[in-house]
Symmetry: C2
């Protein structure tokens, strides 16, 4: 669990949606789904997510150097990914350990290909 709770998009709204190719999204569906894709729509966040997802766990301290971004910037991006439900953080001691949420990636994938 994250120390400062992060508001994640309501799962109920997201899970409802059928693929883009089969139905026209409602305005409410589109707004929430767009938040997931917008989180994926930044190159720094994509690399950040791939770093976290391709390992079991990663702490922020190990992400700054390979990304070449400042600590506040990394913190900013992890927050956005977490708010989109794509990653979750667990604070142990001084470190925050991040892990990916595969079900969330699956939700996004299902919108593109059933």
């Amino acid at each position: 669990m994250n120390p400062n709770p992060i508001a994640v998009i309501d799962d109920g709204v997201i899970d409802c949606c059928s693929p883009l190719t089969s139905d026209v999204l409602s305005e409410v569906e589109a707004r929430d789904v767009a938040r997931i894709f917008a989180a994926l729509g930044d190159p720094v966040r994509l690399r950040l997510l791939s770093m976290i997802a391709s390992t079991n766990e990663a702490c922020s301290c190990n992400l700054e150097k390979p990304l070449g971004k400042s600590q506040p910037t990394v913190s900013h991006h992890t927050r956005i990914l977490a708010e989109a439900g794509l990653i979750e953080g667990e604070k142990r001691g001084r470190w925050t350990w991040w892990h990916a949420v595969p079900e969330r990636l699956e939700v996004a994938a299902r919108l593109l290909r059933d």
Copy 2:
């Protein structure tokens, strides 16, 4: 084909990428992939794409009213979707007919779930 040719991301760069969960994206890969997800990261474009993708063809004139957006705004969004390779436009007579590019949706889906 579109009357004014639209620059689409190089397919070679995109097709190269393995799922986010298996490898860390390079900066170049991340930049190009982010452009696809950024195109999907707007609610109006998501509804636009789902309207086009859930029918065989759609002309811009039929998209303005259900979207509730002005004609320049719709034109702006179709351009961004086309530059991301997600839709293609064909001009026949006075109308531009848009259709989705399933292979492109598939490329994006493969990044999230192999």
